[in-house]
Each structure stands twice: as structure tokens, then as C-alpha cells.
Symmetry: C2
Subunit: 674 residues, 2 copies
């Protein structure tokens, strides 16, 4: 919604008031506009979908959602009308969408305002609704009241049928179209220009009331139409107004527990029961799927997964072992409940997740890495709402909002350049440090520990990034737990600094790029046994932030313990190098630190070629390490040219193999040996 | 579209083939699938809107756009169906959308696949179309051919009427729904599971043909259904196939000029004719609006503006002086042409801009700063397409794609926290340096020079950020031209280093934050006349990138000329500090450089309070400068505490004024005097 700073939204305000009245006298105890929770969605056009998220697993909740005809032009709203098709009337409540057609946006006419009744009824009937039009201005309160009663009756019919085991096939949920002039009841004309019924009522209709006599008179006579003497008495609202407020708190708008304090912690299984043996290749996602299956079983009414049809492709299919996809238009899924919603609209997924989380439950949004960027502004809006909400004393905690990225740029089996976009990481990094959490668990056990932590956490934006392809398991369950707790550690099994200051530190942040770092250490051990190499993995990105810039940021001492005081440090990073560089900026002695990451290079090529073209392969790491280390180790300096030549030779061999065979040499992924 | 790597898309492939055949025999010479231009839009669901952009001002072009029922679930596609309402049949061509309903996405059923004919016809009739359903598999080629002929006839009818001065009111453009089984004509079953008509035909239907005898046989008999002996002869396509290829190049798909080489440079007015006098406050946007009005006049058929209904609000309303908003459903705008489209869907705006630019014309997308992030992944997809296209020899240049951000976080008169999001800058920074261009013109003259440059440029992604409120003009037209050419300069009028090494360099990047820097210089001159301060403004952000990292990056020497070798440098930056830090990372001696920028703090507060809460006010800059300068100037060190106290006192005074008066002290914006 555009801001309600003035007359512009008089229509909306009048409507909200009449709704409030209706709600308090409604026979449906739990009906509420959920305005606190969903207003934040207005600007980006996703309030409608947020409402659907709010009523899921809240069978007695009915949310009215007012949609301006401006925001109705947005894609996210246009897609969200379909969401009744994902609402099982047994387990979930209902939404009454009210499309408010006043004909104008800030200054242009609206699409819906220029559609006649036939066009509108046709469109929304096609979306699956029963449509009622409310437009008789002289009787608008009565008409709206009776229409809402009709809507409630229709909802009750659908719910009763479903809840008594005889669900209506493709139930046609009610929706309301409210036609009223923009700026209705405001000034008719100012300076000879129409205000009521025109775009000019948007924002400030009488701009010069503080310096122009005529404007002041217009303002005065407008405000007098509200008859303040009837509304106010002795500086207080009159009894007739106060009487509208329901007696019971539970009937007051905004005092529903769902709107301010409804957090239900999940019943979490022990992730260590799902841990795998180390020194094998295992898919992080497959193991996570098994774990999530248990989360679903343990939390049949307070955990949901929203995905743009990528669960199977992301190898998380095990979550479907004990639950289904909740799509009511599919005859095989109809009226069967189900914890999973797969709609190919990231906007809908994000809005459903927001609505579900804001009403106290916990959700997960797994996605191809490249597609979460689609909803980055929605995530930022959510975080802004939550930042302000945290400042309000009477608000309780919320579950964190949880994102899982896989099918990343690092493994482009058949997709290619269009599917390479790790930019959602940067979007989370730009949030306030209190909320921002980004994790790169380096193996399956670390991923299990991380997702367990995230689903239990509160008030954060958690982003977890992992691989769906089998990758090396480096840490036992116990070591993984310890590593994730610290956020970053020296991997002694791959280091040969003997606990002393090394010549160089090589650091992996991300699954595949960490494997390359460990393989680089193996390579360096073979080519240059005199080089003292330390291998570090960072699983919690935020530990790298400059001291005091993030709650997880390593103290200066801890940072030095890992990265030494003055030795070259080569970061091999999953995301864009510049974002990690920005994060590290106020750490001391940056001239010794180099960062390589995804560099917008790639195609439908082999996994290893993706490492090569983005300069994050083991060979690149090894070459950077050697060049950096020459400063501190004379023996290395002597052999520099020779070793670099050997590395170059190996790169060429691999490139040739890939270009002739169309696949990576198989031994490339052998578990590193030290 | 999901990638066509295998059988999954057999249906689509067959269809495309039959379309190609049709097109070559069609009576409409210019009909084309524009597949090169629009395929890149598939993944994010915006191919449909890109098609509409392509036909605008191409009156003889008809684009068929195939929309999968998966991508049809996306918001961008759901909104784009309305775009016929923005198509004037006199000046523009037409789109034939073909919704291909095969019922499945990667693994879940689709919404459209579960809607019956009545539901589908109702929905698309509501959107404004005439709907034809093609579904008779036995006769699919004939049915599709005759349906396309029908569609072409309907288009011709609408165009003829409009072009002979009798436009049809609310013309109902044709669209086609094609129902065919997913994986049609592929293997029926593999390992006992249905393939044809099931989601399993997505991607690889016979995965083990290289190691399993049964699979190999299935693959073989499937491929034999194509009857290769009929299609191929002596290792070449048979004559019957080759005969399908049209003789004339102009009838070959992909050889239409629009698809590969159609760049039309704009006829640009001289921006200096619009320049303003310096030392006054002028709105960059208002002056830019006047300039754009002239661009519109000079280029009546090759320049368009796409805006989410924010032109007036962004103070660019002057572009409407000689042209209108092209919205055919508005009776007052109908059949009147118009260079401006204002739809409240950033996704539609971006896709229209992409389609328009990809077919050789030039567009501009002005937006509130906070809302361009909505389309950041679409912009990235566009850039990826363009990066690859640039590598292809036979492709010509394209106009740059141009974004203008105003209504920024720095002026939150009535919007507030939800409208503060400068993250689109970071999205552009992550592009390949060859394409990424970000400009912060510090005043109206610099803005004119910049937009003139951008609209003339080719193959870039240009992001220009400016203020719509009156702000100080610091540079004359000549100085502005020189400054913009350099990208960054020392502002001597505000500096007191006398051309020698200063004690401190203070740098503004962005309109409002630069004003604060200049005011900080004024303040420091008064409080600490002994302090040698250099003021620098950066208008072309990319000059700061580390040497060789960007074509605009300053050489090491030039960087030192501006920022000295070792003096403290305080950046006051419009965007998120971390992105500038990332950009600067490989510059030497970073420990002397500090960056402040938008820090996710704010509300509906005064402009100056926004500076204060994000620590970029003149007082913050002055305090940082003094603290940094103590190292190099003993006199400053002595007075440090005293001056800091004085600054603190002034901050308190201003804060108190704002909190009691609800506005900024008026003298705060006086032109700085030196």
C-alpha cells in the first residue's frame, strides 16, 4: 500500500473502519484483518499471499486482505490470486480478498479501474473465485456488511463440507470487488482541479493549508464533514465510538495472539542421529532431506516447506516420505493436507513463508541458488518489519526465516550461465547484523548441525548454502558440532604448519571451493613439502566481519589465531569476491589477504571447469599460495618457477581431458590424502 | 523455460518445429518467434512481457511467445498477460501468446494443467483475450496451423481498423492454449514408471542408456520413431527437410534484423542547452525531465520510458509535455500513441525495456531507488544474455539498458523505512566490468551530462542515481562536463590544501552525502582553519575499482593524485559501505580509508535526520576527518577534544530542533561559503 499520510487513502481508511466494526460484531470470533502482520507486504504487492500464509494451519482464522488496484498490477499479486488452490479447508483458515478499485495510482489510471464489471468478474471467476461487487456509495456500509456476511457464509460452507469428510471439489472461495472513488468524501476541488475521484487525492490534496486562506477553508470544511462534535467529547472519543471497541481482548483487532506473540518452537529431532561417516562422498541435501522428514513428522501442524517446484531436483525428496504436496486442484492430492507447497512462483513462496512465520510457525524455503535473488527485496522488507517489531516491547519472538540454497553455480551439469547467481548472499549481508546469518557448511554433518541450529533459532534471516551432489565428508558428527559452534577452524588434518606460524593460510568458504582448498593443500604437500600450509574452513560467514561489526565476528585475537598476524591469506569463496572483501575491510593488514570467488564466468560445462574459469580451482589456490609464501620462505622462492610450471602443466592436462571427454577426470574427486 | 537437454521438452520442440514451418509459409512476412531475443527471459517467467517490448514501434512485427505452464505460475508472467492493454495497434506490432499446458513442472503438477477448459477460457477472457484451445493430438499440426491463421487474421483485423482511423475499443487480441502431454512421443514407460504424460519426462527420461541394455533398447526404439532414414540422407538433412528453409534470408527465423543487428542510435539534443546556473538549488530530476522531453521530441519512434507509475512523483513529469501515457484501456489515452508506459509492475517495466532494447531501440526505466531491487535478477539475466551475445561475431551493438534511480533513502519525506533500499547498486557492481556502470552525478548539470552520455552509450548497464528535491548546483556546465569525463575530481573551491598534500581527504559519492561533505569542509574551515582539507567528489563509481579491475578504474598514479599516498580518506557514500569497501579492496594502504554509507537506519523523518542516523552528516564527516588528521597535523591534535565537543554540541542542537519542530533547521541547506 502507498503510505496513508493523508486524504489519498480516505476510501481505504473508511473501509478499514467499517471492516473493524463488522469484525467486532461478526459471528466469526477469529476474523481479523491481521493488519499488523501484513501491512509490510503492501508496497511490493504481496500482502495477498502473506495472508494465505497466515491462515495456513490456523483453521479458525479468517484474514481480510485489502488490495489496492495499483498494487494489484504487480506480478506477485497477480500470481497470488491462485493461492486458494493451495488451501486445504480442513487444516487451514481462509482469506477474504477485497480488491479496492478506485481507478488511480499515483498519477496514472489503473488497469482494474479501466476494466468493466464483466471483465473483472470474468477474470476472477477464471482465477477460481465467486465475485461480489460492492459499489453503491449511498449504502456502502450496509452493502459491504451484507457482502462480508455472504463471504463468511460461503467460507463456512466450504470448511464444513471439508471438515465433515465431504470436501467440495475445486471450491469457489469468495472475493469482493469494492468500487469507490479515489479520495472519496475528500474535497471536491482545489485550485479548480478535481480532487475526489482523481489521482490528485493521492498524498496531500490541500498542500498549502498552512499559508493559503482558501486552502485552509477547504481543509476546514473537509474535516468538518467528519462531524467531530459527534465523534469526540471532552477531548476523548465519544461513548458511541468507544462502544464499538469489543469488550473481550480476544475480539480486538491487533490483540489476537497471532498478530503479536504466537511463536511455537519446533519439536526438533537430534541431528546426530542422521550424521554420516567421514571420508566418503555424501550429498548434503539427501541427508538433510532425511532430517527434514523427521522434522515434518514431529511437527505436523507448525512446520511447512515452500518451494518453487525444486524439492526433488534439489535432492530433498525424502521430506515427501510422510507428507504430500498440498495442491487442492490436483485430484490425487486434494483434501489430503500436506506440509509441502510447490508453486513456481518464488514471490508466492516468499510471501507464504513470511505469513506463516509472522504468525508464529516455522518454514523453510529451499531453492536453486540463482532464484532466491528474485525475492531479495521481499526478504529485505520482511527484515525491516521485523527490525522495527523487535523494538516493540509487547511483541514476542518469531521463528527465524529460513532459506536453503543448493543447485549452486559450482555444479552446472545441464543448466548453465543463466542459473549462476549467488547474489542473495549479498542481500543478507546488507541486513542489520542482529538479523543477518549466512552459513556455508562444508559437508553433510556440518549441514545437519547448521539446519538444526537455524530451525531452532529466533528472529534471524538464515541463509544456508550447500551441495546436492555427493561431496566429501571431512568431519565426524562431534567435530562438525564443534566446528559449527566456532564458525571457523583450522583443519589440522590438511595443514602442515605443526601448530606453528605457517608460510601461508588457505581458506575455503563454501562446499566445492573448500574441497579445492583441501586438494590444493594435498597438491602443495606433494610439490613443495617445505611449504608450511595452514587450511582453514569458514562455515559461519559472519565470523569474518570486522570486530564489533557483527555478534559473531571473531575477536582480533581469534582472528589472528586462525589467520596469523602477517602471513598471506588466500580466500577461496563461494560468492562474489567483493562482498567478502567488504566484510573483511576493517580487519588489519588487508594487503596480505586475497579473495577469489564466483566471477560471472561459466556455461553448461563440467564442475571442475567451473572452478577453473572462475579461478577457484585447487591449481589457482596452490599458485596463489606459493606466490604469496615466497616472502616468508626462502626455499619456496627458489622453487617458485619450477612449481608454477608444473601446476600450469597439470591445468592444461585437465583442460584437455575435459574438452575431449566432455567430463572431469574421475580421480579429481578422490578423497585427499595427507 | 527449463533447459531443453532431452526428451523433457519434446512437446515444446515439436511445437517449435511446426511453428517454424508455419512461419515460412505464412502470409505475414514479418512473423517470427524472436527466439534469440526472448529465450533468456524464460527462466524468470518474463518472456511474454519481453515479447511485448519487442513489438512496440515495430508495427509489422508479430512475435509468437511460447509460455510453459510452469513459468506461467510466476508473478511476472501473471502480470504480463495484461500488456495487450498497453499496445497501440497503429504504431506497434502484436504478440501471439501460446500457453503450452502439459500439466507438469519438474515434479509437481501445474496450476494451469489442473484447470479445465472453462476455467482457462474464463481466466484469459478476463485478461482480455480471445482464446483458442489446440488439443487434438492426431491432428495437431493442422489444428495449430489453422489456429495460427485465425490468430493472424484477428490481429490483422485489429491493426487494420486502428490504422484506418477506426480503432476497435478494447480489442480482444488472440491467444492460444496448446494442450499436449509432457514428453509427448517419448518413451511410454521406463523401469515400470510412466514417462510420456508424466513429470519424469523432464530432463533425462532414459538415464542409464549408457550402461543398461534395457534402457539402451528403449532409447533406440524412441529415436527410431523419428524415422531418421527419412530425415537424413548421406549424413545430411534430406531434401524434404532442406526444402522447408525459406529461400529469402528475410524469411529465415533468426535472420530478421531485429534479432541480431538492429541498433538505432538516438538523435540526441545538446545537454548544455539545459544546463543551469551554479550556486543555486535545483532539482536534478526536473531539469532531466526537460531534457528527456526533447529526447522524446527528437526520437518519436525509437525511445520509450517504462515506469511503475512514478514519473510525476519522481518530478520527471515534463516528459509528458509532448507525449502521453500509452494505455489503451483508458478512454482518454486510447489510440493516441505515447512514449510512456506506467504500469505498477516493475517486472513488466523491466521486461518491456529488455524487449525494446534487444530489438535495437533505447529505453529508460526511472524508479524509486528502493524498487529497482525487485527486478535485479531480471537485470542480471539480461546482462548474462548480452555478455554472451557480445562474444558472437555477427551480432551488432545494442543500446545500453538505462536505469534512473531517484526518491532515494536520503530524502524520506513521507515514505520511510520500507522505501530505503539502495541494493540495486550492488547488483550492478557484481556484473562483468565490461558492462557495469554506476553514476552518482552530484548536481543537475552533472546529471544532464551523465544521462546524455548514457543514452548514447552502447552495451552497458547504466545506473544513474540522483535527487528529485532541489539540491545545490556546484559546477557550471563546462566544469560538469570535465568532471564527468574524469569521473572524479578535487573540488578546489571547497578545499584548503592549496594544491599540496592535505591532512585529510573527504570524499562524497552521491548527491546528498556530497553536500554533507562540502558542508563538513565549510565547518572544518571555521572550527579548525589550520586543518588542510581536500574535498573530492566521485561521480563515476567505477573509477574507484582497483587498477585493471574495470575499464574506468583510475591508474595508481591518478588514484594517488586524488587521494594522496598516505593521508586519511573519509568516504561518505550513498550506498551500503561494504560494497564500496569491496570495490576499493585491492587499492594500497586501506587502513587509512574509512567508508560510511546507508546503514539500514531510518524512518519517516527529516532529510537531515536521515544523514544523522546513518552517520553520514557533515558532523560525522568532520569528526572522522579530525580524528584521522591528528596523525599528520600536531595543531589539530591539540584542539581535537575541544573541536569534537563543539561538533557534538551542534549535533545536539540540530537534533533538538528536529524533534521539537518536526523539520530541519532551514539554514542547514544554505549554499556553503568558503
Amino acid at each position: 500500500m502507498r503510505p496513508v499520510t493523508s486524504q489519498g487513502a480516505t476510501g481505504e481508511l473508511a473501509l478499514v473502519s467499517s471492516l473493524c466494526g463488522l469484525i467486532s460484531t461478526s459471528s466469526f470470533e477469529s476474523m481479523t484483518s491481521m493488519s499488523c502482520a501484513i501491512h509490510e507486504g503492501g508496497e511490493l504487492g504481496y500482502a495477498l499471499a502473506v495472508s494465505f500464509g497466515a491462515v495456513m494451519d490456523n483453521p479458525d482464522l479468517i484474514v481480510t486482505c485489502l488490495i489496492g488496484d495499483g498494487e494489484a498490477e504487480t506480478g506477485p499479486t497477480a500470481a497470488a490470486w491462485h493461492l486458494t488452490k493451495y488451501l486445504d479447508p480442513v487444516e487451514s483458515g481462509a482469506v477474504i480478498p477485497i480488491l479496492h478499485v478506485n481507478g488511480f495510482k499515483i498519477s496514472e489510471r489503473t488497469i482494474f479501474g479501466c476494466m468493466d464489471d464483466k471483465e473483472l468478474i470474468c477474470l476472477f471467476t477464471g482465477y477460481g473465485y465467486q465475485v461480489a461487487i460492492v459499489e453503491t456509495l449511498e449504502l456502502i456500509d450496509i452493502e459491504l456488511a451484507s457482502t462480508l456476511d455472504w463471504a463468511l457464509g460461503e467460507i463456512k460452507k466450504i470448511q464444513l463440507a471439508a471438515r465433515s469428510g465431504k470436501p467440495i471439489l475445486k471450491p469457489r472461495w469468495p472475493m469482493i470487488i469494492l468500487r469507490s472513488p479515489k479520495g472519496w468524501t475528500g474535497p471536491k476541488k482545489v485550485d479548480g482541479e478535481f480532487i475526489e475521484g482523481s489521482f490528485r487525492s493521492h498524498q496531500i490534496p490541500v498542500p498549502n493549508a498552512n499559508k493559503d486562506e482558501d486552502h485552509l477553508r477547504i481543509l476546514q470544511s473537509w474535516l468538518q464533514t467528519y462531524d467531530p462534535s459527534r465523534l469526540l467529547k471532552d477531548g476523548m472519543p465519544a461513548k458511541s465510538i468507544l462502544d464499538i471497541i469489543p469488550e473481550k481482548d480476544s475480539k480486538k483487532l491487533g490483540q489476537l495472539k497471532q498478530t503479536y506473540d504466537s511463536y511455537q518452537p519446533l519439536n526438533m529431532p537430534d541431528w546426530k542421529n542422521f550424521a554420516v561417516e567421514k571420508f566418503q562422498h555424501v550429498s548434503c541435501m539427501q541427508e538433510t532431506g532425511k532430517f527434514l522428514n523427521e522434522v515434518v513428522l514431529n511437527n505436523p501442524k507448525s512446520f511447512r516447506i515452500f518451494s518453487p517446484d525444486e524439492l526433488e531436483s534439489n535432492k530433498l525428496g525424502d521430506v515427501l516420505k510422510n507428507t504430500g504436496r498440498n495442491f487442492q486442484w490436483d485430484e490425487y492430492a486434494r483434501a489430503n493436507g500436506g506440509r509441502v507447497i510447490e508453486i513456481l512462483s518464488e514471490h508466492c513462496c516468499q510471501a507464504l513463508l513470511s505469513g506463516y512465520t509472522l504468525t508464529g510457525r516455522t518454514g523453510l524455503f529451499p531453492s536453486y541458488e540463482s532464484f532466491l535473488g528474485i525475492i531479495h527485496t521481499m526478504m529485505v522488507q520482511y527484515s525491516k518489519f521485523n527490525k522495527i517489531a523487535q523494538d516493540v516491547k509487547w511483541r514476542g519472538d518469531l521463528s527465524s526465516i529460513n532459506y536453503l540454497e543448493t543447485s549452486t553455480w559450482a555444479r552446472q551439469e545441464h543448466n548453465g550461465f543463466s542459473h549462476q547467481n549467488p547474489s542473495f548472499i549479498g542481500a543478507v549481508l546488507n541486513l542489520k547484523p542482529e538479523a543477518a546469518r549466512v552459513y556455508f557448511p562444508p559437508d553433510a554433518n556440518c549441514f545437519l548441525s547448521t539446519i538444526h541450529h537455524c530451525l531452532k533459532s529466533r528472529n534471524y534471516v538464515n541463509l544456508m548454502i550447500g551441495s546436492k551432489q555427493p561431496t566429501a565428508v571431512f568431519l565426524s558428527a562431534e567435530d562438525a558440532a564443534e566446528h559449527c559452534k566456532k564458525g571457523a577452524s583450522i583443519w589440522k588434518f590438511a595443514s602442515n604448519d605443526g601448530g606453528h606460524t605457517p608460510d601461508v593460510v588457505i581458506v575455503g568458504v563454501g562446499v566445492e571451493v573448500t574441497f579445492e582448498v583441501v586438494k590444493a593443500a594435498e597438491l602443495l604437500r606433494a610439490l613443495l613439502p617445505d611449504l608450511r600450509v595452514r587450511v582453514v574452513n569458514v562455515t559461519d560467514l559472519m565470523v569474518l566481519a570486522a570486530e564489533s561489526h557483527h555478534p559473531h565476528a571473531l575477536s582480533h585475537t581469534h582472528f589472528q589465531d586462525l589467520f596469523t598476524e602477517d602471513r598471506p591469506v588466500c580466500f577461496n569463496y563461494h560468492g562474489y569476491a567483493t562482498e567478502l572483501q567488504g566484510l573483511l575491510f576493517e580487519r588489519p593488514r588487508l594487503d596480505r589477504i586475497s579473495v577469489k570467488g564466483y566471477n560471472e564466468e561459466g556455461s553448461t560445462t563440467t564442475p571442475f571447469d567451473m572452478m577453473l574459469v572462475n579461478s577457484v580451482s585447487r591449481f589457482d589456490v596452490a599458485a596463489r599460495a606459493i606466490k604469496g609464501a615466497t616472502k616468508h620462505n626462502e626455499k619456496v622462492k627458489e622453487k617458485l618457477d619450477e612449481v608454477l610450471k608444473e601446476i600450469e602443466k597439470r591445468v592444461l592436462e585437465v583442460k584437455q581431458y575435459i574438452s575431449t571427454q566432455g567430463k572431469d577426470p574421475e580421480d579429481l574427486y578422490d578423497m585427499p590424502k595427507f
